[in-house]
Amino acid sequence: MPLENSYNSNMTDYVEVREGFLCPVCMKDLVTFEQLQTHFEVAHNTEEDGAAFRHLKELLGKAKKKILKDPSIDSASSDEGTNDRSRGGATSAFDPSAWEVQEFGASSSHTEYFKQVRDSRVDRFVVETNKLLLRLDKLIVADVAGDTAKRKASEKDIVPWVPDQDVHYCLICGIRFSLVKRKHHCRLCGGIICSKCSVYLPFAYARKLTNPAFALEEPKQLGVSSLPRTGSSGSLNSMTNAEGEQHIRICTECRRLLDRRDQLIEQRTSKPIIVQFYERMKVAVDEVEKGVEVYTEMANSLSLGETRFELAEAQKLNVRLAKLYETIDVISKKIAALNMGDEVAPHAQQARLQRCVRLYAAAFLQERGAQGLRGWAPAAAAVTTSGVDVDPMLQQMSIIRDYIRKAKQARRFDEVQMLQANLEELQVEYKRQQRRLTAAS
């Protein structure tokens, strides 16, 4: 505090700035808080001062009431001796139970404004990026590799460079250029930046940007070489990197715009994993649709005894369908389980989509009667046990015949074959048994 006092005494000539425990009435510096308090109570406890103080308090009370929409505000303001009342009102205002429910105030939508701002911003980005891309296209087409002077000239021709003498500070980081901090020109905007604020843009990456189809031809991982290199603008190594791949120096600002563009392209062209899965599933579904049609035709024709199709063909198709059903089942299950095990659970909408895909697949399988993967049994044979002493072998044969009939009805031709095989076996066995019996007797 003494320091402030001395400061005050020295500086009063210049500015009217005083600090410390000053009395608000007489502007006297009281050094400590306690002293100020006692001074105020003793020296200014006069009638006028008291009135001024009360007036101040009353004003505050009114403001509070106004905020809380106290209806007594008008009457209170007209009354001059409301000191006590206003004070009482103030205290009641702090009782939360006395507060009224606040109404929802006026609101206004800023969406339009936001859109406007965003659009202009996006527009700016788009225009800027397009300009850069046009320049980039020209730059990488101008094929004068090797000849540094020519190349520099053509680069300057495409993008006007900011003159060296005009710039003393890096455009991006603001560092002062010197003998050690060299100036570099961004080949895209022509601005002068320091080495730290510049990056090399490989031609491959540039081609990917200017011609998205190029990226498909060359699936190699492309990216901007992150190693900024010093070296004079004319030297060869500012044009090619260690691998001899061509590149140009650009500033990080242009790089940011280009990366944005790259991301957009990527987003537009690449499909999320769920889409990839779904497409695969859809292919299987379409194939099933077609296959089932053919299969039904085959089955009908076969059961009519026509020779247009072979049984083996139909069987093959049946197996293929079973496989497709399984594929659909597996893929849809995968979709349903996508990201479910992750720490970050998928978004509710995403989860719902996944669930729906699975449900669709399940419904499809059910509708198409994909019993290929489910168990099957011929309906219980209504065995006419015409006497308990019927040879079990004969009994079984009739059971199997019944099964075969039912399997045929259900168009389960591979099962028919199995059953047929079994029937033959039974017949052979039965004959042998009979022969043995006759031989014995």
């Binding site: 079973a322 496989k323 597996v330 489910r374 065995v383 046990t385 079984q396 079994n422 039974l426 052979v428």
Partner: protein
């Protein structure tokens, strides 16, 4: 039709597209729950009052192992003595057998043991035999100790599980365990004991299912 099979399957869709088919037979004393076990496995159902099987019932079920599909051709034989003569016809060409007993009846376990002996003697030497102690939900009335059956199974190289068709306990598991144990790359099954013995067949082959080609699976 030509470009069918593995080539068309999307990569990594969980299956290399092989379908193996195996003949499986269920054996055991009557009323131990063979049909219930199969019904549970094939249709996921359970009937409290399952009628007794006449002759042999036929069912199929497909299970998916890691990269191949195993189709079981299941023959559920009747347990009654008068149908005993049919059983050899079914276990002869089988690649797998489940011998079922009822854990609440000691006799059924003894009968199971005779079945196992018969299989070891008469069935294909490569047959995979599983022993199922069914009705595990009735553990209160247990007469056959788990350890006893386990020890017996180890001795005889059988797969062993206590199952319950009623609660579905271990039902799918035992079939899956069999599917895993079945040989899938070599001359599977070797079901050539009987003349009609059809080994496991590879279905996605042109001449699939022709009776002559036994035991060429998933090559």
């Amino acid at each position: 039709m030509a470009g069918r099979g593995t080539a068309q399957r999307p990569n990594g869709a969980g299956a290399a597209g092989k379908i193996c088919q195996f003949k499986l037979v269920l054996l055991g004393e009557s009323a131990v729950g063979k049909s219930s076990l199969v019904l549970r496995f094939v249709k996921g159902q359970f009937h409290e009052y399952q009628e007794s099987t006449i002759g042999a019932a036929f069912l199929t079920q497909t299970v998916c192992l890691d990269d191949l599909t195993v189709k079981f051709e299941i023959w559920d034989t009747a347990g009654q003595e008068r149908y005993h003569s049919l059983a050899p016809m079914y276990y002869r060409g089988a690649q797998a057998a489940i011998v079922v007993y009822d854990i609440t009846t000691q006799d059924t376990f003894s009968r199971a043991k005779t079945w196992v002996k018969e299989l070891q003697r008469q069935a294909s030497p490569n047959i995979v035999i599983a022993l199922a102690g069914n009705k595990a939900d009735l553990a209160n009335g247990r007469m056959v100790e788990f350890d006893e059956a386990q020890a017996y199974s180890e001795e005889n190289g059988l797969l062993f599980m206590e199952t319950s068709a009623k609660t579905a306990m271990n039902v799918n598991d035992i079939f899956l365990a069999i599917a895993k144990k079945l040989p899938k790359n070599d001359q599977a099954g070797g079901g050539a004991v009987g003349q009609g013995g059809s080994g496991s067949r590879r279905l996605d082959e042109g001449g699939a299912g022709s009776q002559g080609s036994t035991g060429k699976c998933c090559k």
